[in-house]
Symmetry: C2
């Protein structure tokens, strides 16, 4: 599979167990989503948390009713029990195991959230000729915990996690313009320049992902990151929760361009 594969092809291969890896670069042009699955009793507060923190937790889709494992609003025949290549299962906030199918642990009260991911805005940045360093260096984007407090909702709270891409100021300005068109995949950056202003002590030691080279004349540019809800989940400790494994996203039938507001 590759960038030319259709979302349906990608999901079929994943469902049949033929693709267990990350989905970066597959089905170019289509939205890939972070997944959070929670019992209904916790889902309402999580929805409120996401609504209050839209830059970090942009919802691009969710199940219509508790227990629904089909998600027609994000793609044809999407079965959230099998269409993600790798899932992480948490109990009482503790990571328990990584699995490739969650059919056997599915419950009738589970609600699925599909959250926007930075893959969707990296694509138009690259299309505009900007360099995305983590892609050039073929590593995971560096991510950092910050001192930017999220709005809390019920048990969900915490600080914002940001991803970082270094750019010269001219390119950063262009990236701000391009990303402003995509509010449902994190939108415009939150900050650029001095990392310590947002509580990052060492830019060369990310809390998640990998460090990337920052060249002379470049400034670090920081976007709200989809890891933010995972940190909030760790703190809230719901009795049961399932997420995708990092990089193993749900490939949807929604075009990235459809998320553009302009």
């Amino acid at each position: 599979m590759n960038a030319q594969s259709t979302p349906v092809q990608v999901r079929d291969q994943i469902r049949s167990g033929q693709w267990g890896k990350n989905t970066s670069g597959l089905a170019s042009g289509y939205v890939q989503g972070n997944i959070v699955i929670l019992p209904k009793a916790w889902a309402d507060d999580f929805l409120k948390f996401a609504t209050l923190n839209p830059k970090a937790c942009p919802i691009v889709g969710m199940s219509e009713n508790p227990g629904d494992f089909l998600l027609p609003s994000v793609g044809e025949n999407v079965d959230i029990r099998s269409d993600v290549s790798s899932y992480k299962i948490f109990r009482d906030g503790q990571f328990k195991q990584e699995v490739s199918d969650i059919s056997d642990v599915w419950q009738d009260d589970l609600v699925t959230f599909v959250l926007g991911c930075s893959f969707s805005f990296e694509e138009p940045l690259i299309a505009d000729g900007l360099e995305v360093r983590n892609i050039t260096e073929n590593v995971n984007v560096p991510m950092y915990r910050t001192n930017i407090e999220c709005q809390s909702a019920g048990p969900f709270s915490g600080t914002t996690v940001v991803s970082m891409r270094p750019m010269v100021p001219k390119d950063a300005i262009r990236a701000i313009q391009i990303c402003s068109r995509f509010p449902s995949v994190h939108g415009a950056p939150l900050h650029f320049g001095q990392p310590e202003m947002i509580g990052i002590k060492d830019i060369n030691t990310p809390d998640f992902g990998d460090a990337v080279t920052i060249k002379e004349g470049e400034v670090p540019v920081f976007w709200a990151c989809g890891v933010t809800p995972q940190v909030a989940l760790e703190q809230a400790k719901p009795p049961f929760c399932i997420t995708h494994s990092p990089g193993c996203m749900l490939v949807t039938d929604i075009r990235n361009s459809a998320l553009s507001i302009l």
Copy 2:
């Protein structure tokens, strides 16, 4: 006169000699323009120069035919010979005199250009709650010569002059979004942060205007500036040329909001 005055009231007062000062803060909500008046033989190249350098030289209006002193496209009964409170007359590129009326030096071959000015984007920045330091400190915006080359056209060439407003990164990101909506009044900034990257040696010693305070945590944000065409004119040395005096703009009937592309 004040912010509540209409453009027609402002021009009437200026025309009758009752207002000889700068027009900053008058007729809030309406576009004020930089003025360049050139003989037809030089105007074609100047138009090409402006077209090739739209961020520094955004044309919001021009006379329909050489010799026209009425400019109906920018305002009711605008008479460019009398409706600017102070003009500068140049001969062979040399500044000769400052006058409040140019009727006696008007020629049948003169072409008038009205260029967008930063007043139009400072207004939406302030409306959004951002601080514009030169306004807070009640001084002229600091402006600097840079090493950013303009595209040349005939005798017109030179480097870009920029204006600078210091902001914390979060506000700079918002300013980039807002100004992107106004491409005909300089649009998004060209640069932020390190002044030396664009050839500015001392941020505390602007080449034009006044220095402003840069507070801890703020970065200088640089916009292409309407002084750029004046520098190109100084170098091109046309036999005859008239501009407005700094801050003494043409107040037009065009609403700032009408220049917004979105």
